[in-house]
């Protein structure tokens, strides 16, 4: 009798307390609201429109491909102009830190931390740059036209996604960006890098507020129904238990 109790306890310890999620849980298509709204309100100085495609593996590993179109048409107070526009892409992986507990209601919400590797190949023009010699006299225009460059950067990201309506997710992402391909002193550096933002030579921070739709695969929909099964089984077992007590 004592042995059987110990064996039961040992079995109870082996049983994990988290729900084992299927390998593939579909993918989410997301669009960023903040970049779109700020593009409309920045008087055309800078603009950026971006979206992403994120897969969900085991509800824990979420590889993501972010893509967009961004540019700048900037004129400084000294009339120096900067113009660029290009596509950009970021590839990365998010980790969901929320684990599904058996004793709690299953949630599709995500608390994500991750990283990205971003890249953009673009051309830019800097106009109306001139050098004036205040003492000896003379002035010279210095044109910087159609300069081509490729910039690579990495990002550390953190954010949340909340399922507001079934399969529709909203949430924010905070990201710190650091350039990998930096310019040497004296190089004609771009003022704006599509996908990275304004280039101050070091890092950058950004925030996204996204809205997205999760496409669940048909077999996943069936499996999500199965999650409710244990509750039904428990109810059925309790009913049987009650019936047995009544018969005794």
């Amino acid at each position: 009798m004592v042995h059987s109790v110990q064996a039961q306890k040992a079995k109870a310890k082996i049983v994990p307390d988290s729900i084992k999620a299927p390998l593939f849980n579909g993918f989410t298509v997301q669009g960023d609201l903040i970049s779109a709204i700020s593009s409309l309100t920045s008087n055309g100085d800078t603009y950026s429109y971006e979206g992403s495609l994120q897969a969900d593996f085991k509800h824990k590993y979420l590889p993501v491909f972010e893509f967009g179109y961004a540019g700048a048409d900037k004129l400084t107070s000294d009339n120096i102009g900067f113009k660029t526009n290009a596509l950009f892409g970021r590839l990365g992986l998010d980790f969901n830190l929320i684990s599904q507990k058996k004793d709690k209601k299953p949630t599709n919400n995500l608390f994500l931390v991750g990283f990205r590797l971003g890249m953009s190949n673009f051309n830019y023009n800097i106009t109306n740059v001139s050098i004036t010699d205040d003492y000896w006299g003379g002035s010279q225009a210095v044109p910087y036209n159609n300069i081509s460059t490729t910039k690579v950067w990495y990002e550390i990201v953190a954010g949340v996604r909340v399922e507001v309506i079934k399969d529709i997710f909203m949430g924010w992402t905070v990201r710190t960006k650091s350039l990998i391909s930096k310019d040497a002193d004296g190089n004609v550096t771009p003022w704006y890098i599509p996908g990275f933002g304004t280039n101050n030579g070091s890092g950058n921070t950004a925030i996204n507020y996204t809205i997205g739709y999760k496409f669940q695969l048909p077999f996943k929909r069936k499996s999500s129904v199965k999650i409710k099964k244990p509750n039904a089984e428990i109810k059925a077992l309790t009913k049987i238990g009650n019936n047995n007590q009544q018969t005794k």
Binding site: I34, I37, S38, T41, K74, T76, S77, D78, I80, F82, N109, I126, V129, S130, I131, D133, D134, Y135, W136, G138, Q140, V142, Y144, V160, V162, V164, M170, G171, W172, G186, N187, V188, T189, W191, T198, I207, Y209
Partner: protein, 186 residues
Amino acid sequence: MKKTQYILFVLCMTLCFSCTVDESCRTNQSVLIDMGMYHINQTDTSRTVAAMSIDSITVRGLKYDATSKKYLYMDSVLYNNLKTITKIDLPLHSFDSVSAFEVTFNSKKITANKLTNKNDTILYLNKRDTLIVKHQNTDKYLSLQCGSIKVHSVDTVLTTNNFIDSIRITNRNVNNINVENIKIYK
């Protein structure tokens, strides 16, 4: 959770639209050749070099006039009888490879006299030297706010020897980082 999300969203949007970008140029844009004044004190056994303070100095730029084939004074004076000077910072020509200056010194030099065992004071009044700096000019882009500047690489420096004994180029690169480029010895 939804309420927190909403508050965070409003906060972030406020932050995004309330910030203005500072567009002022914070980088040093002046490119000047730095010339330090040094005094050589030579005895039978030793030779020491020390920084020298000039009592007063006047510096003017000289531009070459091709028609008269003469150097003419620039309108503005770079140093106008400035007192107690240990170094001078001068602008090089941005669009020409030769920059010329006339430097007028008023100074004194104290040297030990072995015969009298006292110090001798030698006065230099209105001693004029012409400095000619030959250099190469290159464009250097700073930023969108600051634009571009001309930086220089010094090839040779020529001088008359009314006050100046000798000259040494210590750093050929003249840019917006203030370092000593030339040592002027008396």
